[in-house]
Subunit: 339 residues, 2 copies
């Protein structure tokens, strides 16, 4: 009898390939499984975008340090980020929540307050959902619908050699914030009665607890008449996302360590934890920045887009995925597996 | 300080009212929170339907007696049932699954096999989803999209006095099946080594483990040119669903116990458990039948629709929600609360 494979052995992305290999596509579906959103025919000029995310207490958030209002806010940001990664405009969302009996009505009101504020700020309408009980902890599922002009939709698959590789904002900050929260939680759990030391860490904590989806970047690209050749949001770390773009576009990449934007506050935290800042930038999760490629000819335009850095360029597939380190060495990039 | 309310105190439907009271509607949303599906503008002749469901191990299914293939199948049936309850046609679905490390790839393949078979049989395309890890057990979130002609959409709110109240199939069978499964699980857990006694219970077990959404009923109604005045699917028991229709339509109802369809097999199980069969029919969950109202003038047409029973009629709101028992007594119906 064949040995049964474990989830660790196949990895998250291998698992998705296995599970979806028998699914059939139809005419109305432009793109099914395998991008930030599914893409459906909507009308002559637009596609509809659909994305869904599942967040679980203990895996995706820890109520010991995440206020429920922030949990709700972040749940919406995740889905928004997927819509923006297709160069789209978010429109509607449904939210389903399962909770155990330990939660009060007031606690759920805080959660929904965060959901409502996020939806209002980004112009998304909450159109439905479901509540149910759970055995332990909280589960939140968000589905978001959006639209995108057929001329403007951006997939993971369009990157071409010589294209510039760009990222918005800075990377690794959410991971740095998480390290602080986990350290203070450990101290608290030792029962020493100390108040958590969070002062001075505001930037990384906010990036971890209350991230913002990059609507501003998508708007700025539109204003500069730039339609990226490929785009993805950075939820699993730069390295994993580069793998997705390169695999789907059948190309390689060369990025420069010194060009990767890392906030000073992130660097400070890394120093405290004796960690190279490039590690969370490459492999930390939850940044919700955008990674995209633009034709080399648009260098002058993209340079003018606020809060966007050019970190390298696309190369032939045979050259693989490389990072040129600060010391000039060529480092092969690795994708993260199941986490 | 005001005492914080518990979930039990407000009940599931009270909770949804509290949580959604601050949500705003826009032009593109025809119907938001508060029906089986949200209803969005799609094009000149059609609306788009959106529904989302969250299923958790230990709450909605028990892997001790539910094969994973059936769990996947049933997850799709739940959402299909919501689309049919709007008189719509299901089109696409996304599925997100969270699992703990105890599950093998093979187990997840079985789950997805059930999802795929259900989607194929009902003409639904699986367009995306997400997998992640969980601390304990499995969580499945399904979002389904569908369409419905603007002339044909049916809400919970259109029932009028004198309308006939109709249900498809028979009621209480899934609850009866669940009683058998729970009894055999308890016997097994006592460690007596007996094989579970499931022979002879096939009908109720199938209704519990592998329900079918009533596409056939929606198709038959269309063929008979009947557009119900109100419709809902029966997932929380007839009594609760009548409450939803009556509340949304601002009417009352009078149903007749003797008209409520209950399968003989369900009656047999109820006898074993010394339970009146009307109890699971009124309050048992997971039947996935359709409850709908049609104008009195369409009595002749609806009588000809296969597998549909007329169980009473809509009355003025002042008369409340009543059931005429077999002995001729008037019984006030109760809605189920949080479960």
């Amino acid at each position: 009898m064949e040995k049964q494979k474990t989830l660790e052995e196949v990895g998250k992305f291998g698992l998705i390939d296995i599970l979806t290999k028998n699914f059939k596509s139809s005419k109305s579906t432009v793109k099914g499984v395998g991008d930030d959103c599914a893409v459906l025919e909507l009308n002559d000029s637009e596609y509809q975008l659909v994305t869904t995310d599942l967040m679980l207490e203990g895996i995706h958030f820890d109520l010991m340090y995440s206020p429920l209002k922030h949990v709700g806010y972040k749940a919406i940001m995740q889905s928004l980020s997927d819509i923006y990664a297709m160069n789209g405009t978010p429109k509607q969302a449904t939210v389903s929540v399962a909770v155990s009996a330990k939660f009060t009505v007031n606690a759920l009101e805080q959660l929904y307050d965060g959901i409502r504020v996020a939806c209002e700020q980004y112009g998304v309408e909450l159109i439905g959902g479901d509540t149910s009980s759970s055995m332990t902890g909280m589960a939140i599922s968000v589905t978001m619908l959006g639209t995108v002009g057929k001329q403007n939709v951006v997939y993971r698959k369009g990157a071409k050699p010589t294209d510039l590789i760009c990222v918005s904002g800075d990377l690794g900050a959410a991971y740095a914030g998480l390290q602080i929260l986990q350290r203070e939680k450990a101290v608290y759990n030792q029962g020493k009665g100390d108040q958590p030391k969070l002062a001075g860490y505001e930037y990384v904590l906010q990036r971890c607890l209350k991230p913002e989806a990059r609507k501003d970047v998508v708007d700025a690209l539109a204003k500069s008449k730039i339609v990226p050749t490929a785009m993805i949001d950075i939820s699993d770390g730069l390295s994993s996302e580069l793998f997705h773009i390169c695999k789907n576009s059948n190309v390689g990449c060369k990025i420069y360590e010194e060009k990767i934007p890392i906030n000073e506050a992130t660097g400070e935290v890394c120093k405290e934890f004796s960690m190279e800042p490039i590690i969370p930038a490459l492999h930390g999760g939850d940044d919700y920045e955008l990674l995209f490629t633009v034709p080399l000819a648009q260098y002058e335009q993209v340079k003018e887009v606020p809060d966007v850095a050019v970190i390298g360029n696309i190369v032939d597939a045979e050259q693989g995925l490389m990072m040129v380190s600060r010391s000039g060495d060529y480092v092969h990039l690795k994708a993260q597996g199941w986490n």
